[in-house]
Symmetry: C2
């Protein structure tokens, strides 16, 4: 058994969604003064590798803390789109993966975009699914879909159509994954447990693959 | 396969270690104003169910983000001390569990104290290990030890002797676990992945058992 970490490090200088603020850490206790180190952490609920709850976009929908813990783990597969070199992944690009969609609880879209993590280019013209492709994917019995980009929607389309397609079917969205290339052509189990924050519209999570 | 959540909910009114502050949440974006909900979260690194890193107590020791991801999962067993009704768990109380200590990566001490979560009594006279018992446990090849109390040390002993015994041997400490009684007499796998926070002396984690 091998464990692979699919999570970015949460740091003060990290990339965050346009309009939100990067995390802040301050030492509240130190070994010299108090005998131990402890930090105060300030961060947004969708910072770094995180999960979007249905309540992120939909009124009166479920928050992450109200979902059973089994919602966050299951059979997973990485779908490879790294060769496409285009900003919209279409139904035609997806269709070949139908057998994998049928047998997976989670699918993770590997575009390679995570390699721009830390650069301003990470936020511009990243690949997203077409609404047709997303609608088709949402017909499968998935617990979640993950991406190695900042969002499943373009940042300039504020109606969040792709979020809406998945969250209306209670398919969770995992954003800002990394290291997906290590899982190409491999069956694995995904563990992506979010912090259990009350009424969490979203929460940072440690995403891990068990191969 | 069954998953059992061993984590407390992080909420504004929750119990925190004496001298630290409870979490604060504020709505930064709302569906009405922005099309989506997003919170700003302020919390301490040792809030709720969390892991202590060696760097929590020891200078120049490792923080959680520098440890391999395999450090946070492994074979686990719950040791039952709920019948003891005393504040110090001794070597004599522990010795019968030697076979389980030999075969486990993690041991979790079930005292039942977590039932006081949310009351001021949670912080007073909770059970702890004797230094003799802790020293004996630390001789086994453990990745971590977990408790259903606020700390492995009494809050009035500021030299943190029990923390020191485990962290000096790079045995991680998981505090504020819940629901351990569901795992009595069962072999299971523990997944307790902390948030990947830079230089984390400790970090909140979602602790989950896979039976």
């Amino acid at each position: 058994m091998k464990t692979i970490d699919l999570s970015h490090t949460i740091s003060t200088g990290m990339a965050v969604y346009p309009g939100t603020e990067p995390p802040e850490f301050s030492d509240q206790c130190t070994i010299d003064s108090d005998g131990f180190y402890e930090k105060k952490i300030t961060m947004f609920s969708h910072t770094g590798t995180h999960i979007d709850a249905p309540s992120h976009i939909l009124k009166k929908a479920k928050s992450l803390d109200k979902l059973p813990i089994s919602s966050f783990t299951g059979k997973a597969y990485v779908l490879d789109f790294s060769h496409l070199q285009k900003t919209v992944i279409t139904y035609q690009d997806m269709a070949c993966y139908k057998p994998l969609l049928k047998k997976s609880d989670f699918i993770l879209l590997y575009t390679g975009w995570y390699q721009k993590w830390g650069e301003s280019a990470y936020f511009k013209n990243f690949p997203v699914l077409s609404t047709e492709a997303a609608t088709w994917i949402a017909e499968f019995s998935l617990k979640g879909i993950g991406v190695d980009t900042i969002s499943v929607d373009r940042t300039d389309i504020r109606s969040f159509p792709i979020h809406r397609i998945f969250l209306e079917k209670n398919i969770l969205i995992i954003e800002n994954l990394t290291a997906l290339e290590e899982l190409l052509n491999i069956d694995f189990t995904l563990f992506c447990f979010p912090l259990k924050i009350e009424n969490s519209d979203g929460a940072p999570a440690r995403a891990v693959a068990l191969v």
